[in-house]
Structures are given as structure tokens and as C-alpha cells.
Symmetry: C2
Subunit: 361 residues, 2 copies
């Protein structure tokens, strides 16, 4: 029931290896036609959020909501948390899109941008501005493999205590060990690190976010309709959703989280570090390949981008021959870079085979 | 791989009977981790829209978009098609929610309401108002089993030619044979008549809708961000979506549409009529049950609601003993009504067994 070659594209990526089994169980138990107003659905919702709290160490003042995609969360977070001013750290295509969504929603977003193809240096400034209502940080830029250090993220909020700090962790969770008391919201979509079929976004928000959305609403600002924070929260407290959601996706997420809890989050993080280290080392020692992000401080552990230049096609073919499917470079880098997802489903053995194949060529 | 009892709840309902097979094929072909920017995804999108055009007889000036749910389409249609004035025919809980969403989006919606539990009479007025920008009609009220006659829907637009007529066909398609040249938009979610796992809405819009969204945008009205009609259209023309969508859901929809085309839409419609007729007849002839909607003109063919009064619990148990799962009444009618979905996956034999079981008690 599983596709043979190992998929290293950074999303949708390789399925978590237990997903085919869980799908079979789901059909046996009637999950695909389960009513979202049933007790059974409520218990699946509860399992999912309890599991996620345990896996990520999420504090009690956070609520967990489901949306159609992480793209939707870009929109909902601006709509629900910003009257006028959002501030965006732009370090690639996806963080830029988040900024543009704030413009489309007629807010007045401000950005500091680290130009296309120009990785962060160690001297990124910590801006302060008492007008900032929300600071948007893309923890891991899927397009470039640039990751923003957690220390820097925490400093942003410490310097702007009135602002809400929202972390796009789409292609990094469950790897990063965030201190959730130092941020206000984080979100991801399930087709990356959680290895699930696409079609579900997961949004975690703390009390400060919920208060802010209530304030906007009482000031007469439209924050949307069915997917406002107050509506999502009222339903989440009953382990329900405002609309008929992707029930099968939520069920599969609950099962994969349970698998990850059994495997252990510490072990998942250690294995991720190990796999990232051997791949970066192989790229650094290679005759004609190198990591795109040179500065170790900004190297993503979960999406590793290689400068492959004129060798891109040849390397791709060699990897495919071994059953290893690399991801293309993003946008303009499509023919000069390769991207490798390093998610919990990617086994150490897959990475060892990947590294050996690269080293021999 | 399939759940045993036949699920007559009106959504999420019984899966279309071919879905378990299609899921197996999907996993074999790597669909759950397929990139939404791949050629293969584009061909799945194309198959889905081509199939739907053929199945429903959709004219060439319509585009087909995918969303997370039909609830999302309530929101997007108001956001993209209304500057100020929408008009709502309210005949139950779901059409009322559509009206409320327009209020939440700070438009000035107007409604004519057919009071709770009060079915339509044959003398529904055709309102006219040159201010109306959008007329929202819920073709089939899943909560009450009231269906609005197509003639009446067409008259609404003929009397208000400046308005866009949007039909919520969530629990009726693919059954109704709409004349799409006499409406402007229709939408559904896949977990009802198409018998698929929930988590996907399908929105069909004609050129007039696309022009209206462009007009609002050029007047400086915010129509959203990634799921605006112009953004959805620009991607649809390339058989793509703005965000990472529910790829597996779209794939399954394409396969079920192909199955329905093979079965024949005429046959599906004839079978639906037959099944509805025998159930309504059984209810009318019954000693102590009756159809909730008395007037044949307004009786839904796809969601049939029975007044079961004090016998509700007993009838439910009798049906469950035969492997037939009825749907509860909606809201306040939970203990005094039963609802029966009559979707393409419900076989004539299932309905005959249902009718025989009711007749004997």
C-alpha cells in the first residue's frame, strides 16, 4: 500500500510510515463518514489536542484549532489579531506571502527583508516599535532552508512586549523545542513534519491572542465569520469545529501524534539533529556541492538546501536511481539547488544512503 | 474495509461504494504525498473539473474552485460578491447561518424567513429590489428536508436581473438538473451526495461572479487574500490551487465523478426519484408516521424528514437492528423526527429494506 521511493521533497513529503495502517483502521471504524457532531468525533479531537500538548509541551493557556491549510492561518491570524500594524521578518517566499496577505486584508504591514537568495547574517537587528500589534516570524523558510534562531525570536517579543508573536512553524514542527511562554501563537500544516496527506492546518494560540481578537470584535472590526478565534474557541472547548472539518485528517493526526509520543520527542529531535549533521557535513566536504546556507546559526535542521549548480540534473538522476526523490530548488533556484526534507518519517538509514550516494559522486 | 451498517444520516453520510477501492489505488500511486505543484496534480484537477462539467452540464463560462468546506463558500461568496446588500431566502438553520455570515462580514443582508418548523407554502412571494447584489438560496435545507423548486429560483433572478443568484446545493447535488444559465453560482461539499470523506468544498461560479469580484477589488473593497475569486481563477486556469489543498480529497472526487458518469446522471436522477417516492409513500400510508414536509412541491428528494414523534426511539432501534442507521432530527426536532439521506450511494435495495421495515411497524 506504500509508494516505493523515499520522498525528500519538503512537502507534501514522505508519509509518516504508520499512515497506511491507520487509513485501513479508519475505514474499518467508519471514520470517513463519521459525523463531526458525534461523541466519537469529540473524543478524536480531544485525543489530538491532548497528544499535541504532550508532544510539544504546550501550556494550558493555549487552545488548538483546525483550519483547511496553513495558508488559511496566515489570513486568519492577521484578521483576528491586527487592527492596523503587523510586522514581518521576511526571509523567503513564504514569509513574504504572509506579509502580502496583511496588505490584501488592508492592514498596514511593515517588513524587514533579507533579499532574495541572501541568507541571514549573524547581525540581524531586533527592531522595536510600540505600534506593532503582531510580529510574524517564519521559523523555517521552506523555500531557502533558512531557520531563525529561537533566541532571536524570543528577543523580538521581549523588545516589543505589547505585540503578539506568531511563529509560522510549517516545515519545522515537531522538531523545534519552542518555549511557548515566550511566543503567543504557532502553526503548521500536517503534510510536512507530521507526514500526513495535505488538507489540514493546525493553529495554536494563547490567552493573549484570544483577548486581542475579542478586543477587535468589540471595537467593531470585522474578524471574519465561522473561523474567528472566538468561534473556533467556543467550539474547541466542546472538542468541536464550527464547520464540517477534515475528520479523516484529524483522526490520522491523532494517530501519528500517538506514534510520535511512543517513539519519544527527545529521540525524534536527536535523530533530526543527527540526520541534519551528516548531510550538512557531506555537503561541506563535497568537491562541488555545498550547503546554500553557509552560517551554521541559520541552517535549518528540517529543510536542507544544497547548491548543486550545473550538477543538479546529474545528482537528481543518481539519487532517483537509488530510490531517493530529492526536492527541486524553489522558484528561480529550481535548476541550481536541491532541497532535502528531514522529517520524523525519514529514517537514519535513508539519510545514510543519501549521504553515501552524494559522497561517491 | 467498509463499515457494515448503511448510513442514512444526511452528511457526513454513507461513502460512495467505490471509495475504499480508490483509497487503495491512491496509496499505491503516492497520491497522499503528491505535490500540488506537480503535473500529475494538474491532471487530477483537470479530470475533476472536466468530469463535473460533463456530469452537471456546466456551461463553459463557469469556473470550478476548491475550498476547505461549504461553510467557507458561504463566507467567500459574501466577501467576493457583495459590497453592501445580500438577500437571503431563509428556510432552516443552514440558510440562516449563511445570512448571519453576511452580518458578521459587516454587509447589510436582508432575509425573508419561513419560521422554524414551518414549511413553505405554495405561495412564496418573489421579492424584487434593485439594491440586491446577491440572492442566496439554499436549494435543499438539510435541517428540515424542505427543497425550493427550481422554477422559483429562476424567477428570483428574472425579477432581479442585476443580482447574482447563488445556490447552496450542499445536500442536493448531483441530483438537481439546474439550468446553470439561469443562476450564477452553485456549491456543495463532498461528504453528502458525492459520498466522500469530509474536508472539501466545491464552488462553481460564472463570468458575472468573476466580473463582480473584480469590480469590488477595483473599488478598494477587501475581498480576502488567497481565496478571492481572482486568485482562485488565476490558479484554476492552470489547474492549480492557491494553497496546498486536500489533494487526496480532490483525487477521490475525480474518481467518484468518473464512476457516476459511467453509471449515468440520468439513471442517478431516476433512481433518486424512485427511492424518494417509495419512502414518501410509505410515510404517507403509515399509521403513525408522516412526512414532515406535507406539500409535495417542497418535499426534498435527497433529504427526507419523517415526523416520528413519540415513536422516534422505537423506530430508530428497529432500523438499527436491520443495519439501517437513520439520521436524528435536527436541533429541537432531535427526538421527534428522523432524517433519511437519499444520495447516489444509497441503493434501491437499501431503500426497499427501509420501507419494508417501516411498513411492518
Amino acid at each position: 500500500m506504500i509508494n516505493r521511493s523515499i520522498n525528500f521533497t519538503p512537502g507534501p513529503s514522505q508519509l509518516y510510515f504508520t499512515v497506511p495502517d491507520h487509513i485501513r483502521t479508519a475505514f474499518r471504524e467508519g471514520i470517513p463518514s463519521l459525523s463531526h457532531r458525534s461523541k466519537k468525533f469529540e473524543s478524536i479531537y480531544r485525543d489530538t489536542v491532548d497528544g499535541l500538548r504532550a508532544l510539544l509541551g504546550l501550556p494550558a493557556d493555549y487552545q488548538i484549532f483546525f483550519t483547511g491549510s496553513a495558508t488559511e492561518i496566515w489570513e486568519r491570524s492577521i484578521q483576528n489579531l491586527v487592527a492596523v500594524n503587523s510586522f514581518h521578518i521576511v526571509n523567503g517566499s513564504f514569509s513574504k506571502r504572509y506579509f502580502e496577505i496583511a496588505q490584501q486584508l488592508q492592514k498596514q504591514p511593515v517588513k524587514i527583508e533579507f533579499g532574495a537568495g541572501q541568507p541571514f547574517t549573524a547581525e540581524i537587528p531586533v527592531p522595536t516599535d510600540p505600534q506593532m500589534e503582531l510580529i510574524a516570524v517564519t521559523h523555517n523558510e521552506t523555500s531557502t532552508g533558512v531557520s531563525i534562531p529561537l533566541d532571536y525570536i524570543y528577543k523580538l517579543r521581549a523588545a516589543n512586549p505589547q505585540a503578539l508573536l506568531v511563529v509560522d512553524a510549517v516545515s519545522s514542527l515537531p522538531f523545534p523545542d519552542f518555549d511557548y511562554s515566550k511566543i503567543d501563537s504557532a502553526f503548521f500544516s500536517v503534510q510536512k513534519g507530521f507526514g500526513l496527506p495535505a488538507g489540514l492546518g493546525v493553529w495554536m494560540v494563547n490567552d493573549r491572542c484570544m483577548t486581542k481578537a475579542d478586543q477587535l470584535l468589540s471595537r467593531g472590526i470585522s474578524i471574519g465569520s465561522y473561523h474567528t478565534i472566538p468561534s473556533l474557541k467556543a467550539h474547541a472547548l466542546k472538542f468541536q469545529t464550527p464547520e464540517t472539518p477534515n475528520v479523516l485528517g484529524i483522526y490520522l493526526l491523532s494517530k501519528v501524534i500517538a506514534d510520535m509520543l511512543r517513539h519519544g520527542i527527545k529521540r525524534i529531535r536527536n535523530e533530526t539533529e543527527y540526520k541534519a549533521n551528516i548531510l550538512y557535513q557531506a555537503l561541506e566536504m563535497h568537491a562541488y556541492l555545498k550547503p546554500y546556507v553557509a552560517d551554521k546559526v541559520f541552517q535549518s535542521k528540517t529543510v536542507i538546501v544544497a547548491d548543486t549548480g550545473d550538477h543538479t540534473e546529474k545528482i537528481t538522476k543518481l539519487l532517483l536511481d537509488k530510490g531517493l526523490q530529492p526536492g527541486d530548488g524553489y522558484g528561480a533556484a529550481k535548476k541550481s539547488q536541491l532541497r532535502f526534507a528531514n522529517f520524523p518519517t525519514h529514517a537514519k538509514e535513508h539519510f545514510e544512503l543519501l549521504v553515501d550516494t552524494l559522497a561517491l559522486n
